[in-house]
Protein backbone atom coordinates (compact mmCIF):
# COMPACT_ATOMS: atom_id res chain seq x y z
CA UNK A 1 0.00 0.00 0.00
CA UNK A 2 1.48 3.29 -1.10
CA UNK A 3 2.12 6.36 1.00
CA UNK A 4 -0.07 8.44 -1.32
CA UNK A 5 -3.07 6.17 -0.74
CA UNK A 6 -2.67 6.28 3.03
CA UNK A 7 -2.28 10.07 2.94
CA UNK A 8 -5.39 10.39 0.78
CA UNK A 9 -7.45 8.30 3.19
CA UNK A 10 -6.19 10.29 6.17
CA UNK A 11 -7.21 13.50 4.40
CA UNK A 12 -10.63 11.98 3.63
CA UNK A 13 -11.01 11.16 7.31
CA UNK A 14 -10.03 14.69 8.35
CA UNK A 15 -12.44 16.18 5.81
CA UNK A 16 -15.29 14.01 7.10
CA UNK A 17 -14.36 14.95 10.65
CA UNK A 18 -14.35 18.67 9.88
CA UNK A 19 -17.87 18.44 8.43
CA UNK A 20 -19.00 16.57 11.55
CA UNK A 21 -17.46 19.36 13.58
CA UNK A 22 -19.74 21.95 11.96
CA UNK A 23 -22.74 19.89 13.16
CA UNK A 24 -21.32 18.98 16.55
CA UNK A 25 -20.23 22.55 17.36
CA UNK A 26 -23.78 23.87 17.01
CA UNK A 27 -25.24 20.98 19.01
CA UNK A 28 -22.75 21.30 21.81
CA UNK A 29 -23.19 25.10 22.01
CA UNK A 30 -26.97 24.73 22.14
CA UNK A 31 -26.69 22.06 24.80
CA UNK A 32 -24.06 23.95 26.77
CA UNK A 33 -25.93 27.23 26.88
CA UNK A 34 -29.60 26.25 26.80
CA UNK A 35 -29.39 22.72 28.21
CA UNK A 36 -31.40 21.51 25.23
CA UNK A 37 -31.01 18.28 23.26
CA UNK A 38 -31.96 19.08 19.69
CA UNK A 39 -32.72 16.11 17.44
CA UNK A 40 -33.92 18.47 14.71
CA UNK A 41 -30.36 19.70 14.10
CA UNK A 42 -30.12 17.15 11.27
CA UNK A 43 -33.16 18.74 9.65
CA UNK A 44 -31.37 22.10 9.58
CA UNK A 45 -28.45 20.33 7.83
CA UNK A 46 -30.97 19.11 5.26
CA UNK A 47 -32.57 22.56 4.92
CA UNK A 48 -29.16 24.04 4.12
CA UNK A 49 -28.45 21.39 1.49
CA UNK A 50 -31.83 21.81 -0.20
CA UNK A 51 -31.61 25.61 -0.16
CA UNK A 52 -28.15 25.40 -1.74
CA UNK A 53 -29.27 22.91 -4.38
CA UNK A 54 -32.32 25.00 -5.27
CA UNK A 55 -30.38 28.28 -5.52
CA UNK A 56 -27.49 26.68 -7.40
CA UNK A 57 -30.02 25.22 -9.84
CA UNK A 58 -31.65 28.61 -10.38
CA UNK A 59 -28.58 30.87 -10.52
CA UNK A 60 -25.66 28.55 -11.24
CA UNK A 61 -23.55 30.26 -8.59
CA UNK A 62 -22.00 28.15 -5.87
CA UNK A 63 -21.24 31.11 -3.61
CA UNK A 64 -24.84 32.29 -3.78
CA UNK A 65 -25.89 28.71 -2.98
CA UNK A 66 -23.72 28.69 0.15
CA UNK A 67 -25.12 32.05 1.17
CA UNK A 68 -28.65 30.72 0.64
CA UNK A 69 -27.85 27.65 2.76
CA UNK A 70 -26.56 29.81 5.62
CA UNK A 71 -29.53 32.17 5.47
CA UNK A 72 -32.22 29.53 5.04
CA UNK A 73 -30.90 27.40 7.89
CA UNK A 74 -30.43 30.40 10.17
CA UNK A 75 -33.96 31.63 9.48
CA UNK A 76 -35.42 28.15 9.91
CA UNK A 77 -33.47 27.81 13.16
CA UNK A 78 -34.60 31.18 14.51
CA UNK A 79 -38.23 30.45 13.59
CA UNK A 80 -38.16 27.02 15.21
CA UNK A 81 -36.59 28.51 18.32
CA UNK A 82 -39.22 31.24 18.57
CA UNK A 83 -42.21 28.98 17.95
CA UNK A 84 -41.31 25.66 19.58
CA UNK A 85 -37.89 25.34 21.20
CA UNK A 86 -38.43 28.34 23.49
CA UNK A 87 -41.18 26.43 25.27
CA UNK A 88 -38.89 23.48 25.95
CA UNK A 89 -36.06 25.04 27.96
CA UNK A 90 -37.67 24.43 31.32
CA UNK A 91 -38.95 20.95 30.44
CA UNK A 92 -37.21 17.63 30.93
CA UNK A 93 -35.12 15.92 28.27
CA UNK A 94 -37.88 13.49 27.36
CA UNK A 95 -40.14 16.34 26.22
CA UNK A 96 -37.27 17.90 24.30
CA UNK A 97 -36.54 14.61 22.55
CA UNK A 98 -40.17 14.16 21.54
CA UNK A 99 -40.81 17.72 20.44
CA UNK A 100 -37.66 17.79 18.32
CA UNK A 101 -38.51 14.31 16.96
CA UNK A 102 -41.86 15.80 15.93
CA UNK A 103 -39.97 18.64 14.24
CA UNK A 104 -37.95 16.08 12.25
CA UNK A 105 -41.17 14.51 10.99
CA UNK A 106 -42.54 17.93 10.01
CA UNK A 107 -39.30 19.08 8.32
CA UNK A 108 -38.73 15.81 6.44
CA UNK A 109 -42.25 15.46 5.12
CA UNK A 110 -42.46 19.19 4.41
CA UNK A 111 -39.29 19.01 2.33
CA UNK A 112 -40.55 15.91 0.53
CA UNK A 113 -43.77 17.76 -0.21
CA UNK A 114 -41.90 20.81 -1.58
CA UNK A 115 -39.13 19.07 -3.53
CA UNK A 116 -40.43 15.55 -4.14
CA UNK A 117 -38.82 12.26 -3.18
CA UNK A 118 -36.07 12.27 -5.80
CA UNK A 119 -32.60 13.41 -4.73
CA UNK A 120 -31.29 16.74 -6.01
CA UNK A 121 -27.74 17.29 -7.15
CA UNK A 122 -25.41 20.10 -6.30
CA UNK A 123 -22.26 20.17 -8.40
CA UNK A 124 -18.81 21.32 -7.39
CA UNK A 125 -18.01 24.68 -9.07
CA UNK A 126 -15.43 24.52 -11.88
CA UNK A 127 -12.90 26.63 -9.97
CA UNK A 128 -12.90 24.07 -7.13
CA UNK A 129 -13.00 20.86 -9.16
CA UNK A 130 -10.05 18.74 -10.11
CA UNK A 131 -7.05 17.70 -8.06
CA UNK A 132 -4.46 19.76 -6.25
CA UNK A 133 -0.82 18.80 -5.63
CA UNK A 134 0.02 18.81 -1.97
CA UNK A 135 3.54 18.67 -0.51
CA UNK A 136 5.00 15.16 -0.57
CA UNK A 137 3.71 14.43 -4.06
CA UNK A 138 0.11 13.78 -3.02
CA UNK A 139 -2.67 14.50 -5.48
CA UNK A 140 -5.87 15.34 -3.64
CA UNK A 141 -9.28 16.73 -4.53
CA UNK A 142 -9.20 20.53 -4.51
CA UNK A 143 -12.80 20.73 -3.27
CA UNK A 144 -12.14 18.49 -0.27
CA UNK A 145 -8.99 20.50 0.51
CA UNK A 146 -11.11 23.64 0.42
CA UNK A 147 -13.61 21.98 2.79
CA UNK A 148 -10.87 21.20 5.29
CA UNK A 149 -9.52 24.76 5.05
CA UNK A 150 -12.97 26.33 5.40
CA UNK A 151 -13.79 24.12 8.36
CA UNK A 152 -10.55 24.98 10.13
CA UNK A 153 -11.16 28.71 9.56
CA UNK A 154 -14.67 28.34 11.03
CA UNK A 155 -13.34 26.37 14.00
CA UNK A 156 -10.76 29.09 14.64
CA UNK A 157 -13.40 31.81 14.25
CA UNK A 158 -15.74 30.05 16.69
CA UNK A 159 -12.92 29.63 19.18
CA UNK A 160 -12.04 33.33 18.95
CA UNK A 161 -15.69 34.30 19.19
CA UNK A 162 -16.14 32.28 22.38
CA UNK A 163 -12.93 33.46 24.06
CA UNK A 164 -12.51 37.04 22.78
CA UNK A 165 -15.85 38.70 22.00
CA UNK A 166 -18.68 40.11 24.07
CA UNK A 167 -21.09 37.49 22.70
CA UNK A 168 -18.60 34.82 23.70
CA UNK A 169 -18.45 36.16 27.24
CA UNK A 170 -22.24 36.06 27.39
CA UNK A 171 -22.29 32.50 26.02
CA UNK A 172 -19.81 31.32 28.65
CA UNK A 173 -21.68 33.18 31.36
CA UNK A 174 -24.93 31.62 30.14
CA UNK A 175 -23.38 28.15 30.46
CA UNK A 176 -22.43 28.80 34.06
CA UNK A 177 -25.24 30.83 35.54
CA UNK A 178 -28.40 31.61 33.67
CA UNK A 179 -30.07 33.73 36.35
CA UNK A 180 -27.01 35.87 36.93
CA UNK A 181 -26.60 36.83 33.30
CA UNK A 182 -30.27 37.84 33.12
CA UNK A 183 -29.82 39.87 36.31
CA UNK A 184 -26.95 41.75 34.67
CA UNK A 185 -29.38 43.12 32.13
CA UNK A 186 -28.63 40.87 29.17
CA UNK A 187 -31.66 39.83 27.16
CA UNK A 188 -31.27 36.09 27.61
CA UNK A 189 -34.04 35.08 25.22
CA UNK A 190 -32.46 37.14 22.42
CA UNK A 191 -29.12 35.48 23.18
CA UNK A 192 -30.76 32.05 22.99
CA UNK A 193 -32.34 32.79 19.61
CA UNK A 194 -29.00 34.09 18.35
CA UNK A 195 -27.09 30.99 19.47
CA UNK A 196 -29.73 28.68 18.04
CA UNK A 197 -29.63 30.51 14.70
CA UNK A 198 -25.81 30.38 14.71
CA UNK A 199 -25.84 26.61 15.34
CA UNK A 200 -28.46 26.20 12.62
CA UNK A 201 -26.41 28.24 10.15
CA UNK A 202 -23.35 26.05 10.79
CA UNK A 203 -25.44 22.93 10.23
CA UNK A 204 -26.92 24.41 7.05
CA UNK A 205 -23.46 25.30 5.75
CA UNK A 206 -22.26 21.76 6.45
CA UNK A 207 -25.29 20.42 4.59
CA UNK A 208 -24.54 22.55 1.53
CA UNK A 209 -20.83 21.72 1.52
CA UNK A 210 -21.45 17.98 1.89
CA UNK A 211 -24.34 18.19 -0.56
CA UNK A 212 -21.85 18.82 -3.36
CA UNK A 213 -20.08 15.48 -2.80
CA UNK A 214 -23.16 13.34 -2.15
CA UNK A 215 -26.78 13.59 -3.19
CA UNK A 216 -29.18 16.02 -1.52
CA UNK A 217 -32.16 14.06 -0.21
CA UNK A 218 -34.71 13.87 2.57
CA UNK A 219 -33.34 12.10 5.61
CA UNK A 220 -29.71 12.98 4.81
CA UNK A 221 -29.35 14.84 8.10
CA UNK A 222 -30.13 12.19 10.68
CA UNK A 223 -27.16 9.82 10.13
CA UNK A 224 -24.89 12.88 10.41
CA UNK A 225 -26.78 14.01 13.52
CA UNK A 226 -26.23 10.67 15.22
CA UNK A 227 -22.54 10.74 14.33
CA UNK A 228 -22.39 14.26 15.79
CA UNK A 229 -23.88 12.82 18.99
CA UNK A 230 -21.10 10.23 19.06
CA UNK A 231 -18.64 13.11 18.61
CA UNK A 232 -20.16 14.99 21.55
CA UNK A 233 -20.14 11.93 23.77
CA UNK A 234 -16.47 11.43 22.95
CA UNK A 235 -15.49 15.12 23.18
CA UNK A 236 -17.63 16.09 26.14
CA UNK A 237 -20.78 18.21 26.17
CA UNK A 238 -20.39 21.96 25.90
CA UNK A 239 -16.76 21.93 24.79
CA UNK A 240 -15.90 23.33 21.35
CA UNK A 241 -12.38 21.95 21.64
CA UNK A 242 -13.82 18.55 22.53
CA UNK A 243 -16.13 18.75 19.52
CA UNK A 244 -13.19 19.47 17.19
CA UNK A 245 -10.98 16.68 18.52
CA UNK A 246 -13.89 14.25 18.78
CA UNK A 247 -14.95 14.99 15.20
CA UNK A 248 -11.54 14.34 13.75
CA UNK A 249 -11.18 11.14 15.81
CA UNK A 250 -14.54 9.89 14.57
CA UNK A 251 -13.84 10.95 10.99
CA UNK A 252 -10.48 9.18 10.94
CA UNK A 253 -11.75 6.04 12.68
CA UNK A 254 -14.68 5.67 10.29
CA UNK A 255 -12.75 6.35 7.08
CA UNK A 256 -9.57 4.46 7.92
CA UNK A 257 -11.52 1.57 9.45
CA UNK A 258 -13.61 0.97 6.35
CA UNK A 259 -10.56 1.11 4.07
CA UNK A 260 -7.89 -0.66 6.06
CA UNK A 261 -9.76 -3.23 8.19
CA UNK A 262 -10.77 -5.42 5.23
CA UNK A 263 -7.22 -5.20 3.88
CA UNK A 264 -5.70 -6.05 7.24
CA UNK A 265 -8.03 -9.06 7.62
CA UNK A 266 -6.96 -10.27 4.19
CA UNK A 267 -3.67 -11.25 5.82
CA UNK A 268 -5.42 -13.89 7.94
CA UNK A 269 -8.39 -15.02 5.79
CA UNK A 270 -9.50 -15.27 2.18
CA UNK A 271 -10.38 -12.11 0.24
CA UNK A 272 -14.19 -12.31 0.10
CA UNK A 273 -14.74 -13.14 3.74
CA UNK A 274 -12.14 -10.52 4.73
CA UNK A 275 -14.18 -7.90 2.87
CA UNK A 276 -17.40 -9.04 4.51
CA UNK A 277 -16.08 -9.35 8.07
CA UNK A 278 -13.89 -6.25 7.72
CA UNK A 279 -16.67 -3.99 6.54
CA UNK A 280 -19.02 -5.31 9.23
CA UNK A 281 -16.53 -4.56 11.98
CA UNK A 282 -15.60 -1.22 10.40
CA UNK A 283 -19.27 -0.18 10.49
CA UNK A 284 -19.11 -0.57 14.27
CA UNK A 285 -15.66 0.96 14.77
CA UNK A 286 -16.76 4.44 15.90
CA UNK A 287 -19.30 2.99 18.35
CA UNK A 288 -16.61 0.76 19.80
CA UNK A 289 -14.44 3.90 20.12
CA UNK A 290 -17.35 5.58 21.91
CA UNK A 291 -17.70 2.59 24.25
CA UNK A 292 -14.01 2.70 25.10
CA UNK A 293 -14.16 6.44 25.87
CA UNK A 294 -17.24 5.82 28.03
CA UNK A 295 -15.44 3.22 30.09
CA UNK A 296 -12.36 5.41 30.40
CA UNK A 297 -14.01 8.85 30.81
CA UNK A 298 -17.81 8.77 31.11
CA UNK A 299 -18.13 12.55 30.61
CA UNK A 300 -15.98 12.65 27.50
CA UNK A 301 -12.42 13.72 26.86
CA UNK A 302 -13.02 17.42 27.58
CA UNK A 303 -16.30 17.28 29.50
CA UNK A 304 -16.85 18.69 32.95
CA UNK A 305 -15.87 16.25 35.71
CA UNK A 306 -18.57 15.32 38.15
Amino acid sequence: MSFALIAEQILNGVQFGIMLFLMAAGLTLIFGVMGLINLAHGSLFMVGAFAAAAVAGATGSFLLALLAALTAAAIAGALVELVVIRRLYGKDHLDQVLATFALILIFSEGTRWLFGSFPLYLSIPSYLSGPISLPGGIEYSLYRTALIAAGLVIALGLGLMITRTRIGVQVRAGENDREMIAALGIDISKLYTLIFALGAALAGLAGALVGAIQSVQVGMGEPVLILAFVVIVIGGIGSIKGALIGSILVGLTDTLGSVFLPQALRLVMDASSATAVGSSIASMAIYILMGVVLIWRPTGLFGARF
Binding site: I37, V97, L98, L103, I104, L105, V230, S279
Partner: protein, 327 residues
Protein backbone atom coordinates in the same frame (compact mmCIF):
# COMPACT_ATOMS: atom_id res chain seq x y z
CA UNK B 1 -63.23 12.08 34.97
CA UNK B 2 -63.15 8.41 34.06
CA UNK B 3 -61.29 6.07 36.41
CA UNK B 4 -58.07 4.79 34.84
CA UNK B 5 -59.08 1.21 35.72
CA UNK B 6 -62.28 1.55 33.68
CA UNK B 7 -60.45 3.04 30.73
CA UNK B 8 -57.98 0.13 30.83
CA UNK B 9 -60.86 -2.36 30.76
CA UNK B 10 -62.35 -0.49 27.80
CA UNK B 11 -59.04 -0.68 25.94
CA UNK B 12 -58.84 -4.44 26.50
CA UNK B 13 -62.41 -4.85 25.27
CA UNK B 14 -61.61 -2.80 22.15
CA UNK B 15 -58.59 -5.01 21.48
CA UNK B 16 -60.77 -8.13 21.57
CA UNK B 17 -64.01 -6.93 20.01
CA UNK B 18 -62.57 -5.32 16.88
CA UNK B 19 -60.62 -8.39 15.68
CA UNK B 20 -63.48 -10.75 16.53
CA UNK B 21 -65.88 -8.52 14.61
CA UNK B 22 -63.40 -8.30 11.73
CA UNK B 23 -63.10 -12.09 11.76
CA UNK B 24 -66.88 -12.54 11.57
CA UNK B 25 -67.18 -9.84 8.90
CA UNK B 26 -64.32 -11.44 6.96
CA UNK B 27 -62.02 -8.40 7.05
CA UNK B 28 -58.58 -9.96 7.50
CA UNK B 29 -56.85 -6.62 6.87
CA UNK B 30 -58.39 -5.12 10.03
CA UNK B 31 -57.15 -8.11 12.02
CA UNK B 32 -53.67 -7.55 10.62
CA UNK B 33 -53.83 -3.88 11.66
CA UNK B 34 -54.89 -4.89 15.17
CA UNK B 35 -52.07 -7.45 15.30
CA UNK B 36 -49.67 -4.70 14.32
CA UNK B 37 -51.07 -2.49 17.09
CA UNK B 38 -50.76 -5.31 19.66
CA UNK B 39 -47.13 -5.95 18.69
CA UNK B 40 -46.25 -2.24 18.80
CA UNK B 41 -47.99 -2.05 22.16
CA UNK B 42 -45.86 -4.94 23.43
CA UNK B 43 -42.67 -3.18 22.31
CA UNK B 44 -43.86 0.00 24.00
CA UNK B 45 -44.83 -1.82 27.23
CA UNK B 46 -41.23 -2.97 27.21
CA UNK B 47 -39.89 0.54 26.71
CA UNK B 48 -42.27 1.88 29.35
CA UNK B 49 -40.56 -0.29 31.99
CA UNK B 50 -37.28 1.54 31.34
CA UNK B 51 -38.86 4.91 30.60
CA UNK B 52 -41.82 5.19 32.93
CA UNK B 53 -40.55 3.16 35.86
CA UNK B 54 -36.80 3.70 35.57
CA UNK B 55 -36.76 7.17 34.03
CA UNK B 56 -34.33 5.93 31.37
CA UNK B 57 -34.93 7.85 28.15
CA UNK B 58 -33.71 5.17 25.75
CA UNK B 59 -33.73 6.26 22.13
CA UNK B 60 -32.22 2.99 20.96
CA UNK B 61 -34.91 0.42 21.61
CA UNK B 62 -35.18 -0.40 17.92
CA UNK B 63 -31.89 -2.25 18.45
CA UNK B 64 -33.70 -4.83 20.61
CA UNK B 65 -36.73 -4.87 18.33
CA UNK B 66 -34.44 -5.57 15.40
CA UNK B 67 -32.41 -8.19 17.26
CA UNK B 68 -35.61 -10.04 18.13
CA UNK B 69 -36.64 -9.82 14.50
CA UNK B 70 -33.31 -11.10 13.22
CA UNK B 71 -33.27 -13.89 15.82
CA UNK B 72 -36.51 -15.07 14.23
CA UNK B 73 -35.29 -14.40 10.69
CA UNK B 74 -32.01 -16.25 11.12
CA UNK B 75 -33.58 -19.24 12.90
CA UNK B 76 -36.25 -19.60 10.25
CA UNK B 77 -33.82 -18.98 7.38
CA UNK B 78 -31.67 -21.91 8.49
CA UNK B 79 -34.71 -24.09 9.07
CA UNK B 80 -36.11 -23.41 5.60
CA UNK B 81 -32.77 -23.95 3.87
CA UNK B 82 -31.96 -26.99 6.06
CA UNK B 83 -28.56 -25.60 7.05
CA UNK B 84 -27.26 -25.38 10.62
CA UNK B 85 -26.91 -21.94 12.26
CA UNK B 86 -23.54 -22.97 13.61
CA UNK B 87 -21.47 -26.15 13.60
CA UNK B 88 -18.92 -25.01 16.12
CA UNK B 89 -18.54 -25.24 19.15
CA UNK B 90 -21.63 -27.42 18.93
CA UNK B 91 -24.29 -27.99 16.30
CA UNK B 92 -27.14 -25.44 16.36
CA UNK B 93 -30.07 -26.13 14.04
CA UNK B 94 -32.54 -23.55 12.77
CA UNK B 95 -36.10 -23.74 14.01
CA UNK B 96 -39.61 -22.88 12.83
CA UNK B 97 -41.22 -23.25 16.24
CA UNK B 98 -42.51 -20.01 17.73
CA UNK B 99 -41.90 -20.77 21.42
CA UNK B 100 -38.28 -21.70 20.69
CA UNK B 101 -37.82 -18.55 18.60
CA UNK B 102 -39.33 -16.41 21.36
CA UNK B 103 -36.85 -17.81 23.84
CA UNK B 104 -33.96 -17.11 21.50
CA UNK B 105 -35.19 -13.56 20.84
CA UNK B 106 -35.59 -12.81 24.53
CA UNK B 107 -32.14 -14.24 25.31
CA UNK B 108 -30.39 -12.38 22.49
CA UNK B 109 -32.01 -9.02 23.17
CA UNK B 110 -31.53 -9.36 26.94
CA UNK B 111 -27.85 -10.05 26.36
CA UNK B 112 -27.50 -7.01 24.07
CA UNK B 113 -29.44 -4.87 26.56
CA UNK B 114 -27.04 -5.91 29.30
CA UNK B 115 -24.00 -4.75 27.31
CA UNK B 116 -25.62 -1.53 26.06
CA UNK B 117 -27.05 -0.90 29.53
CA UNK B 118 -23.76 -1.35 31.37
CA UNK B 119 -22.05 1.15 29.00
CA UNK B 120 -24.90 3.66 28.80
CA UNK B 121 -25.60 3.69 32.54
CA UNK B 122 -22.12 5.01 33.20
CA UNK B 123 -23.74 8.31 32.30
CA UNK B 124 -27.17 9.85 32.71
CA UNK B 125 -29.46 12.51 31.33
CA UNK B 126 -28.75 13.78 27.88
CA UNK B 127 -25.63 11.60 27.48
CA UNK B 128 -27.79 8.52 28.02
CA UNK B 129 -30.15 9.58 25.23
CA UNK B 130 -27.33 10.19 22.77
CA UNK B 131 -25.51 6.97 23.65
CA UNK B 132 -28.55 4.70 23.31
CA UNK B 133 -29.34 6.39 20.00
CA UNK B 134 -25.78 5.81 18.83
CA UNK B 135 -25.74 2.14 19.85
CA UNK B 136 -29.04 1.66 18.04
CA UNK B 137 -27.42 3.06 14.91
CA UNK B 138 -24.49 0.69 15.39
CA UNK B 139 -26.80 -2.33 15.06
CA UNK B 140 -28.43 -0.72 12.03
CA UNK B 141 -25.13 -0.31 10.18
CA UNK B 142 -23.97 -3.74 11.24
CA UNK B 143 -27.11 -5.35 9.81
CA UNK B 144 -26.60 -3.47 6.53
CA UNK B 145 -22.96 -4.36 6.13
CA UNK B 146 -23.25 -8.02 7.13
CA UNK B 147 -23.98 -9.82 3.84
CA UNK B 148 -24.74 -13.34 5.15
CA UNK B 149 -28.38 -12.58 6.01
CA UNK B 150 -29.40 -10.36 3.14
CA UNK B 151 -27.59 -7.17 4.14
CA UNK B 152 -29.56 -4.16 3.02
CA UNK B 153 -32.22 -6.28 1.29
CA UNK B 154 -33.32 -8.10 4.42
CA UNK B 155 -34.45 -11.67 4.76
CA UNK B 156 -37.75 -13.25 3.73
CA UNK B 157 -39.35 -16.13 5.59
CA UNK B 158 -41.75 -17.96 3.31
CA UNK B 159 -44.07 -19.65 5.79
CA UNK B 160 -45.04 -18.20 9.15
CA UNK B 161 -43.51 -20.10 12.06
CA UNK B 162 -45.67 -22.65 13.82
CA UNK B 163 -47.22 -22.84 17.25
CA UNK B 164 -48.27 -26.26 18.56
CA UNK B 165 -52.01 -26.80 18.13
CA UNK B 166 -52.69 -23.54 16.26
CA UNK B 167 -52.79 -22.51 12.63
CA UNK B 168 -50.63 -19.36 12.74
CA UNK B 169 -51.42 -18.46 9.14
CA UNK B 170 -55.01 -17.77 10.15
CA UNK B 171 -55.01 -14.01 10.99
CA UNK B 172 -57.30 -14.28 14.01
CA UNK B 173 -55.28 -17.12 15.56
CA UNK B 174 -52.02 -15.23 15.09
CA UNK B 175 -53.66 -12.13 16.57
CA UNK B 176 -54.74 -14.13 19.61
CA UNK B 177 -51.15 -15.30 20.17
CA UNK B 178 -49.87 -11.71 20.04
CA UNK B 179 -52.70 -10.46 22.22
CA UNK B 180 -52.11 -13.18 24.83
CA UNK B 181 -48.43 -12.21 25.00
CA UNK B 182 -49.38 -8.54 25.31
CA UNK B 183 -51.73 -9.32 28.22
CA UNK B 184 -49.01 -11.40 29.88
CA UNK B 185 -46.55 -8.53 29.44
CA UNK B 186 -49.04 -6.06 30.92
CA UNK B 187 -49.58 -8.37 33.89
CA UNK B 188 -45.83 -8.67 34.36
CA UNK B 189 -45.36 -4.89 34.09
CA UNK B 190 -48.12 -4.31 36.63
CA UNK B 191 -46.67 -6.89 39.05
CA UNK B 192 -43.21 -5.41 38.54
CA UNK B 193 -44.37 -1.87 39.35
CA UNK B 194 -45.85 -3.04 42.68
CA UNK B 195 -43.04 -5.43 43.60
CA UNK B 196 -40.22 -4.44 45.97
CA UNK B 197 -38.00 -4.18 42.91
CA UNK B 198 -40.42 -1.80 41.17
CA UNK B 199 -40.79 0.37 44.26
CA UNK B 200 -37.02 0.56 44.69
CA UNK B 201 -36.66 1.42 41.01
CA UNK B 202 -39.27 4.12 41.33
CA UNK B 203 -37.31 5.56 44.23
CA UNK B 204 -34.05 5.27 42.30
CA UNK B 205 -35.57 7.40 39.55
CA UNK B 206 -36.70 10.11 41.93
CA UNK B 207 -33.93 10.18 44.52
CA UNK B 208 -30.92 8.01 43.65
CA UNK B 209 -28.87 9.23 46.62
CA UNK B 210 -31.51 8.15 49.12
CA UNK B 211 -31.76 4.71 47.53
CA UNK B 212 -28.01 4.41 47.81
CA UNK B 213 -28.17 5.45 51.46
CA UNK B 214 -30.47 2.57 52.31
CA UNK B 215 -28.01 0.17 50.75
CA UNK B 216 -29.38 -0.40 47.25
CA UNK B 217 -27.39 0.25 44.09
CA UNK B 218 -29.55 2.53 41.89
CA UNK B 219 -27.55 1.74 38.77
CA UNK B 220 -28.03 -1.99 39.24
CA UNK B 221 -31.79 -1.49 39.62
CA UNK B 222 -31.82 0.59 36.43
CA UNK B 223 -29.74 -2.01 34.59
CA UNK B 224 -32.18 -4.79 35.51
CA UNK B 225 -35.09 -2.63 34.35
CA UNK B 226 -33.25 -1.88 31.10
CA UNK B 227 -32.61 -5.59 30.47
CA UNK B 228 -36.24 -6.60 31.13
CA UNK B 229 -37.33 -3.72 28.94
CA UNK B 230 -35.01 -4.70 26.09
CA UNK B 231 -36.02 -8.36 26.29
CA UNK B 232 -39.71 -7.49 26.03
CA UNK B 233 -39.10 -5.23 23.04
CA UNK B 234 -37.03 -8.04 21.49
CA UNK B 235 -39.94 -10.44 21.83
CA UNK B 236 -42.15 -7.88 20.09
CA UNK B 237 -39.56 -7.76 17.31
CA UNK B 238 -39.80 -11.54 16.80
CA UNK B 239 -43.60 -11.33 16.55
CA UNK B 240 -43.36 -8.36 14.17
CA UNK B 241 -41.01 -10.33 11.93
CA UNK B 242 -43.49 -13.20 11.97
CA UNK B 243 -46.35 -10.86 11.11
CA UNK B 244 -44.53 -9.55 8.02
CA UNK B 245 -42.62 -12.78 7.34
CA UNK B 246 -39.74 -10.45 6.56
CA UNK B 247 -36.89 -8.82 8.46
CA UNK B 248 -34.76 -5.95 7.24
CA UNK B 249 -32.36 -3.35 8.67
CA UNK B 250 -35.36 -0.98 8.83
CA UNK B 251 -36.29 -2.76 12.07
CA UNK B 252 -33.12 -1.25 13.57
CA UNK B 253 -33.72 2.27 12.29
CA UNK B 254 -33.65 5.23 14.67
CA UNK B 255 -37.09 6.31 13.40
CA UNK B 256 -38.51 3.12 14.86
CA UNK B 257 -36.87 3.87 18.22
CA UNK B 258 -38.54 7.26 18.06
CA UNK B 259 -41.89 5.74 17.13
CA UNK B 260 -41.82 3.23 20.00
CA UNK B 261 -41.22 6.18 22.29
CA UNK B 262 -44.07 8.06 20.62
CA UNK B 263 -46.47 5.19 21.45
CA UNK B 264 -45.55 5.55 25.10
CA UNK B 265 -45.85 9.33 25.13
CA UNK B 266 -49.11 9.65 23.20
CA UNK B 267 -50.64 7.16 25.60
CA UNK B 268 -49.02 8.53 28.74
CA UNK B 269 -45.61 7.87 30.34
CA UNK B 270 -45.63 5.50 33.30
CA UNK B 271 -49.30 4.52 32.77
CA UNK B 272 -49.73 0.78 32.56
CA UNK B 273 -52.00 0.99 29.51
CA UNK B 274 -50.39 4.08 28.00
CA UNK B 275 -48.48 2.04 25.41
CA UNK B 276 -51.65 0.19 24.38
CA UNK B 277 -53.59 3.42 23.89
CA UNK B 278 -50.62 4.99 22.07
CA UNK B 279 -50.12 2.05 19.71
CA UNK B 280 -53.85 1.87 18.91
CA UNK B 281 -53.97 5.59 18.13
CA UNK B 282 -50.78 5.39 16.06
CA UNK B 283 -51.93 2.47 13.93
CA UNK B 284 -55.35 4.06 13.44
CA UNK B 285 -53.81 7.37 12.39
CA UNK B 286 -51.30 5.61 10.16
CA UNK B 287 -54.17 3.83 8.42
CA UNK B 288 -56.61 6.75 8.19
CA UNK B 289 -54.20 9.61 7.45
CA UNK B 290 -51.92 7.39 5.36
CA UNK B 291 -54.96 6.65 3.20
CA UNK B 292 -55.78 10.27 2.48
CA UNK B 293 -52.37 11.90 2.39
CA UNK B 294 -48.99 10.63 1.34
CA UNK B 295 -47.40 13.00 3.82
CA UNK B 296 -49.20 11.81 6.93
CA UNK B 297 -46.07 12.11 9.06
CA UNK B 298 -46.58 15.90 9.03
CA UNK B 299 -49.89 15.41 10.81
CA UNK B 300 -48.31 12.96 13.22
CA UNK B 301 -45.54 15.49 13.90
CA UNK B 302 -48.00 18.29 14.64
CA UNK B 303 -50.11 16.03 16.87
CA UNK B 304 -47.03 14.89 18.77
CA UNK B 305 -45.86 18.48 19.19
CA UNK B 306 -49.25 19.46 20.63
CA UNK B 307 -49.28 16.49 23.03
CA UNK B 308 -45.76 17.35 24.26
CA UNK B 309 -46.32 21.10 24.58
CA UNK B 310 -49.84 21.20 25.96
CA UNK B 311 -51.09 17.72 26.91
CA UNK B 312 -49.07 16.57 29.88
CA UNK B 313 -49.78 12.98 30.79
CA UNK B 314 -50.71 11.80 27.28
CA UNK B 315 -54.15 10.55 26.29
CA UNK B 316 -54.74 8.59 29.46
CA UNK B 317 -53.66 11.61 31.49
CA UNK B 318 -56.10 13.83 29.59
CA UNK B 319 -59.00 11.44 30.07
CA UNK B 320 -58.33 10.33 33.63
CA UNK B 321 -56.56 13.32 35.19
CA UNK B 322 -53.17 13.30 36.78
CA UNK B 323 -53.82 11.11 39.81
CA UNK B 324 -52.13 7.73 39.69
CA UNK B 325 -49.43 8.77 37.26
CA UNK B 326 -45.84 8.31 38.25
CA UNK B 327 -44.67 11.91 38.24
Amino acid sequence: MIKERHLNMALIVVCVVIPVWAHLADEPFIITLMTRAAIFALAAVGLNIALGLGGLVSLGHAAFFGLGGYAMGISAFHAQTFTPVAEWPFLIEGTKSMPAIWLISVAVSAFAATIVGILSLRTSGVYFIMITLAFGQMFFYFSISWPTYGGEDGLSVYVRNGFPGLNTLDPIQFFMICFAILVAALALASRLARSPFGLALNAARQAPQRVETVGLDPNRLKLVAFVISGAMTGLAGALFADLNRFVSPAMFSWQLSGEIMVFVIIGGVGRLFGPVAGALVFVTLEHLLGGFSEFWHVHLGVLLLLVVLFGRGGLIGMICGREGSHD
